[in-house]
């Protein structure tokens, strides 16, 4: 049985611009993502894909419509509850890595634990870094790491509270081809573990790692295609 992880129903997002004009970022979007799916959301810049990711990540609220995460209606939750969901159920990977520059790789990975329910577990952080291939660089600062290495620290950070959902926003956008391929391989391995991975990208090659591609244009879904569904899927 495949359970529904993400359910988006008639979702709209309207931004108020500085001059008072309304900008429609998302226009009546509806889709479902099952647990364990690897979905790429594609679209040109301004298509609304980043707005969608912010709402899926519980960082922003929709203007209208319904968003259910794991069956829970997110729009009704208070700040503290949203924060708790972000810390325990969602792992973020950003284009710009967003590591804290004055703290070591290890301390960066610890960060979600500080805000999570569990106490900080250094061993666990170290093994997360070892898993992404940085076991020898625990105490390096971000400036001492290459872009690919920094993104791997960010992935270790996203994993540390063992979330079921990974949200990646152009994770290879700032990387060269080889580093980008390594990062994509890591995301694929997270998917193989059974996590739901939602990847936002404008790049066709990056999107090709996913088993489903949702394409947005001007805030609307213009295509929703299953590709090579069995390529990365869990063995049944």
């Amino acid at each position: 049985m495949i359970s529904v992880h993400i359910e988006v129903d008639h979702l709209s997002k309207i931004h108020k611009r500085g001059d008072g004009e309304d900008v429609v970022a998302l226009d009546d979007i509806t889709f479902r993502i099952a647990s364990g799916e690897f979905v790429a959301i594609r679209g040109a810049s301004g298509s609304g894909k980043s707005s969608l990711l912010s709402i899926l990540g519980c960082l922003d609220r929709q203007t209208s419509g319904v968003y259910l995460l794991g069956g829970i209606k997110v729009s009704g939750l208070a700040d503290a509850e949203l924060s708790s969901i972000r810390s325990t159920q969602i792992g973020f990977v950003f284009q710009a890595f967003n590591l804290l520059s004055r703290t070591t790789a290890l301390e960066n990975v610890e960060l979600p634990m500080i805000y999570g329910s569990a106490s900080v577990d250094r061993e666990k952080c170290a093994s997360a870094l070892t898993r992404v291939g940085l076991g020898a660089r625990l105490n390096h600062y971000p400036t001492e790491l290459s872009g690919g290495e920094q993104q791997r620290v960010a992935i270790a950070r996203a994993l540390i509270n063992d979330p079921a959902l990974i949200l990646a926003d152009e994770p290879t956008g700032n990387l060269d081809e080889a580093s980008g391929a390594e990062i994509m391989a890591l995301l694929v391995s997270l998917h193989r573990e059974g996590r739901t991975v939602v990847l936002v990208t404008h790049d066709k090659v990056t999107a090709s790692h996913a088993s489903r591609v949702i394409t947005l244009n001007k805030g609307q879904v213009i295509s929703d295609v299953l590709v090579s569904r069995n390529l990365h899927a869990k063995p049944a």
């Binding site: 980043s50 912010s54 990540g57 960082l59 922003d60 700040d79 503290a80 924060s83 708790s84 972000r86 810390s87 325990t88 973020f92 950003f94 710009a96 967003n98 804290l100 960060l111 979600p112 805000y115 999570g116 950070r157 509270n161």
Partner: protein, 382 residues
């Protein structure tokens, strides 16, 4: 930022401890000089200030005046003094220059002084013009560095006296000089055998009730004017000091000074607080991305608020620790330089801690509020 708080707290600590130290020390020295506070002091001469020596004293105060004062209502008893300064002392080739006080028997009691060792002179010795002396600690150190002075004979202006006792240590007087460079001898002996004068350099009247000092001061003044046949327009040829009034005035001056100084320090701290608040608020803008990231990995608004508040608190807290350390060291250096006693006051420490915590919290309010309001979506996009 931290330096500002440190400077402010240091100023506060230095000023408040010096203020406090000075005030306490002034009172203590005054008490040292005047003895107990329930006394009124009468000296010869119209405008005499401080101690006078017999050689330069107008002959206006007689022992009979002292006896008359003793029967004024509200006066418990009266002590008399005839003294000279810069008197030569000698003992077996050692010399000292000191003040010699011829005093009545009740002197120690009225002054509130203690004997260190040996005994004070008796009524019999007073009546018999005995050549006996009680010496102060400075004199003991000068003449008897390594022997017991009791029973030894010293020469005061070439007159031989037997040392019968040593006074307890009294410390410094109001002007910083030692009060222990002194020799006490019986009043009668001083009058007949040493100074050959019959007038007094000081009368001390002890009161039944210290609160009556103003009224008794007026009675004594009136009595002496009558006894000295002064008509109402003449200036007095004596002066009466009411120690309670002097002390009240001095301690008021001391505390006013301390208040002004503390006020100045608080202004410095206020400025530092404003600087912390504005720099930290600027810091919020620079750290938007960090705030956005923390929010994304699970920080609540309250967590961000707490973080910025704590950072301000830590900043001003360290400033406070630094400032208090520098301040207390500085205050004690200044105290040593001014020959005031070293001091460590819990009230200064608690004040410093409270002020730095308060500044940290208050200056952290605005940046913390701003930080908590940062929109994570906007912050992470940039």
């Amino acid at each position: 930022m931290m330096a500002g708080i440190a400077v402010g707290i240091a100023t506060l600590a230095v000023l408040s401890s010096i203020g406090e130290s000075t005030r306490r020390e002034t009172l203590k020295r005054l008490r040292n000089m005047l003895g107990t506070t329930d006394t009124i002091i009468v000296r010869p001469g119209g405008s005499t200030r401080g101690m006078v020596s017999v050689a330069s004293t107008p002959p206006t105060l007689k022992p009979e005046d002292a006896n008359a004062i003793a029967s004024v209502a509200g006066v418990k008893q009266v002590a008399m003094l005839i003294n000279g300064f810069n008197i030569d002392l000698a003992y077996r080739g050692k010399h000292a220059v000191t003040g010699v006080f011829g005093v009545s028997r009740n002197w120690l009691e009225l002054r509130g002084d203690q004997m260190g060792s040996g005994s004070f002179f008796t009524d019999l010795e007073e009546l018999g013009l005995a050549r006996v002396a009680v010496i102060g600690e400075d004199v003991r150190v000068a003449l008897f560095p390594d022997e017991d002075p009791r029973g030894k004979t010293i020469r005061i202006n070439d007159v031989p006296f037997e040392v019968i006792g040593i006074l307890g240590v009294r410390g410094a007087g109001p002007s910083g000089g030692s009060l222990d460079n002194v020799v006490l001898i019986p009043l009668s002996t001083a009058k007949r055998r040493l100074f050959n004068r019959d007038f007094l350099t000081m009368i001390i009247a002890q009161l039944d009730d210290p609160l009556q000092s103003d009224a008794v001061t007026a009675s004594i003044t009136l009595l002496l004017r009558n006894r000295h046949h002064l008509d109402p327009v003449s200036l007095a040829d004596f002066n009466v000091t009411n120690p309670r009034a002097v002390m009240a005035r001095l301690s008021r001056i001391g505390s006013t000074l301390a208040k002004v100084l503390v006020g100045a320090a608080l202004i410095v701290l206020l400025i530092s607080g404003v600087v912390i608040a504005s720099l930290m608020t600027l810091g919020v803008a620079e750290r938007r991305r960090e705030i956005g990231l923390r929010r994304a990995v699970g920080a609540r608004r309250a967590d961000i608020r707490t973080q910025f508040l704590l950072e301000c608190l830590i900043l001003s807290g360290w400033g406070g620790v630094l400032g208090t350390t520098v301040g207390l060291v500085g205050a004690n250096l200044a105290a040593a330089w001014q020959r005031l006693p070293l001091m460590f006051s819990w009230s200064v420490l608690i004040l410093s801690a409270a002020v730095s915590i308060a500044i940290g919290l208050i200056s952290g309010l605005l940046p913390a509020w701003r930080a908590a309001r940062v929109d994570p979506v906007e912050a992470l996009r940039g």
